[in-house]
Structure formats: C-alpha cells, structure tokens
Amino acid sequence: MEEQKNIKDHIIDYLLDDGEEKAISPVLSDWLAEDVSNQKEFEQYKKIWKASGSYTVPDAYDSDLAWEKINTINGQRINTRTYLKNISYVVSGVAASLLIMFALSFMGVFEKNTEVLVSMTADYGNRSEIVLPDGSVVKLNSGSEITYLYDPKEKIREVSFQGEGFFDVSKSKSPFVIKMAGGLSVKVWGTSFNLQAYVDDPVIQASLVEGCIELDSGNDKLVMKPGEMAVFDKQANKIKQVEGILSHSYGWLDNKLYMEDMPLSVVCKYLERWYDVKIMLQPGLGENIRYNGVIQEETVTDVMNALSRLSKIRYHVTGKNISITSK
C-alpha cells in the first residue's frame, strides 16, 4: 500500500515535468516492470495528459453570436407557432433587444419592412463583441453600449454609442456614422479605430489605426489620418489632436492598462469599470499619487497588489468594495 501511495506521486511528478525529456523515476520504472497492466495504465494516463493539452473550455465559444451570424446569412423565417414552442434554447444568454429582433424575424415581421431598435451592452466587469449586419465588428469594453436601427432592406450605417469600443468598420462608399452623448459624431470609411466615450467622462477620445475618420461636434470638425489621436472636450465643445502612443489607447483589448502620469483616481475609474467594483479612496490620495507604466493583470486583487508595490498605498477588499488608504 506504501508503494501504491508513492506510485501516484511518481506518476503525477512525471506528468507535471515540463522538461523536453521527461524523467522516469526508479520507483516508477520498477512499478512498470512489475506488470503489463501497470504499463497499460501508465500509457492511458500519458494519452489523457497529452489530449488535455489542446482542450478549450466550452465558454471560449460564443454559440449565440454564431447563431446570429448563421441566421442572418441563411435569411430564414419560421412561423409563429413553432417559435413559441422553441423559445427556451433560442433565448439563453441573448440580450433582450437582440431577442426581440430574433422574435420579430421568426414571426416574419421583417417581411413587413419594420425597423427594429437593437442594442448590445457590455456591463461593468464584462467585455463583448458584436458583428453588425454590414460585417463591421465592434469590441465593447466594460460599461459600453451600442444601439442601432435594424432595417433589413438597407445596410445600417448609423449607430449610437457610449463607453469604449474598438471598431473594425467594413469598407463602403457610404460613411458609417457613430453618434455619441455630448454632441460628437464620428464618420468613418473602412477603418479600425478605438473610441472612448464614457458618459461620465469629460472628454471623448479617438485613436485611428487605419482608414479615415471625421469627427464632427456641430461647431468643430476634424479629419483624422492613421496614427493620429484626438480628444473632444465636451464642456468647451472643442476637438483637438493630441500626441500619444496609439497602441496604448487600445491596450484594453489585451487587458493592458497603460498609465502615463495617470493619477490614482483615474486608475480607479478604469478598475471600477473593468472589474465591476466600487473603490473608496482616502481624500486627496487620488490626485497625489501618479503612475507611469503598464499593468496587465487577471483579477482586481492582482492589480491592487501591483499598485501597492508601485506606490505607498494600502488596500482592503470586502466583496465588491475596495478601500484604499495611504501607507
């Protein structure tokens, strides 16, 4: 029985060995030599271990989004009665307005040329991605929402947007228009760019990767070229170009937060959105402490650890609430 207990450890150690040539310990070697059935068992573990290396969790795949795409391409309709019977599996995980659009498509409403308002939201703590009917892809950061009028006869080329998103807009002769709160609209022609337009921020920031976009606030206009970054001041109602490192503005796609002389108060605002937490800062601390660098962490506790190493702060987590004080 002692042997048996040891064997398990030897087998595990063998499997967990990251080296090129895995080492078979003497104890393991003896055990294998004892009986053919031991060798068979060992082979089975090795096979299982190998196969597990290319496993992906089911959550890695968005079947609802895929069904959306497939459904659109198939252009199918089903009659009302069948839809009502099968609503349970069609509905799961889909945002309410997308469901409405589905339901209406199943009921043949689109045949009557009705327009439907569709919106996609990424809550705090979440991120999501949407493929618009014209093929444009928008990656939504936490706390964002995109809304558009779906018209099956015409390609939609106008959306309302708030929050932060990375847009990959399909090329087309007609411009794609994004309207935001604060009075700014962005016209794009086949581009990729990042847009940060949170309703509670005093500014809207745009960073253009490729293509061409035009910012329009009614009073002010700016045409941007690839590589450029611009900021719209909502209060002053002015658009101006700014200098910066382009890739930093969409670092969030890789879960990176780039900080260039960024005050702790601003860092906290990002954390609240990305992780859906509430942060209480000791008064004065938010402005006095500034960071330079980049953090890329999985959990909010990892981030807090990193920050408390970079600066003299102490933090305390209770569920979704974090309080930060000076050390």
């Binding site: 089975q44 196969a51 992906t56 969790v57 890695a60 198939n74």
Partner: protein
C-alpha cells in the same frame, strides 16, 4: 448516448425537409463540441468558430442533398476536419494535423487518436469546476505548481491530489465510453 443518436438522425431528416427549428437544435447540440475539436486541429479559437459556422451554413444550403449513412456525430466531425484542412491550406499554423495531413477527404477513415481526443474533451467538460480549473491552469496556461498554489491558495500536495483524482475520473469516464 443511443437516445441522442436516434434523435440526431431524426433531426437530419427534418432538416432535409426544410425544418429550421430542427436545424437550430442540431446547431445547439453540436456547435461548441465541434469548435473544441476544430480548435485542436488548428489551435486558433476564431478560426475554429469560422470553420464550424461554415459547416452549418453548408448543411443548410445543401439540406436537400445530404445523405448520412452512418452516425450523425461521426459525419459532422469528419466534415469539420475536411473544412479545417481547407482552412489550413490558406494559412500556416502550429497545429496537430501533422499526422493526418494526407487524409484530405472526409470520406477517409477516422483517425483513432482524434476520437480519443474528442472523448477526452467531453470527459473534461464533465469534471467538477474546481478540478478542471487546477488541471487547466497547468496544462493550458502553463502555470507551475508553485504558481497555481499561490493563485488558488492551496498547497502543492493538494494540487497533486486534485490532478490525480481528475485523472482517475477521466480514466473512468473514458472506460464508460469504451474508448
């Protein structure tokens, strides 16, 4: 599993008659599994999803012509492999297809190791969340035992025990599937 097989065949029949609801049922039943399989061939999640979506689109488009003479599951996996290989021709991947690059047609023989792999994925899906997490942190994310220990706040010994118990469960699950 034999219940599902019969129903799968009924779904295909219904799809052939233009029943979109059955088509949706088939999609819900197989989409994720097929993605996991194609991922293991192409090692890219979004390419895997593209291939599986292409598969379903082809099924609907050719619904009147589809004739499946063996089990539906086998047919779908073979078709997925065929389409994945097509995808491969247009890109260069780090992939698991090296052993079967010659098998380009989906009428070819099923590769035993693939069947084993598919069964293992299904068994891993069935592991308790915590056990799966420990296994994957090492296997997929490449974390060392010490790193897992710090991340999950459990001892290295517990990790080893968990992995062993997961292995036993997987072995048992495969035995039940007769793989």
């Amino acid at each position: 599993m034999s219940d599902t097989t019969t129903t799968d065949e009924k779904l295909i029949e219904a799809i052939g008659r233009g029943d979109y609801v059955s088509y949706n049922k088939l999609f819900e039943r197989y989409y994720t599994r097929l993605c996991q399989y194609v991922y293991s061939l192409l090692m890219d999640k979004s390419d895997a999803e593209d291939v599986v979506q292409e598969l379903f689109l082809k099924i609907w488009k050719n619904r009147e012509k589809i004739e499946i003479k063996e089990n539906v599951s086998g047919y779908l996996y073979r078709m997925a492999k065929h389409l994945a290989l097509n995808q491969l021709r247009s890109k260069v991947y780090f992939n698991n297809l090296s052993e079967s690059k010659d098998q380009l047609s989906y009428e070819e023989n099923w590769v035993e190791t693939e069947e084993f792999r598919i069964a293992v994925y299904d068994c891993i899906d069935r592991l308790p969340d915590r056990s799966r997490e420990v296994l994957l942190l090492h296997r997929i994310k490449g974390l060392k035992q010490k790193e897992i220990s710090e991340k999950l706040q459990i001892s290295v010994k517990t990790i080893k025990n968990q992995i062993w118990s997961s292995l036993q469960k997987l072995k048992r699950c495969l035995e039940l599937k007769e793989i």
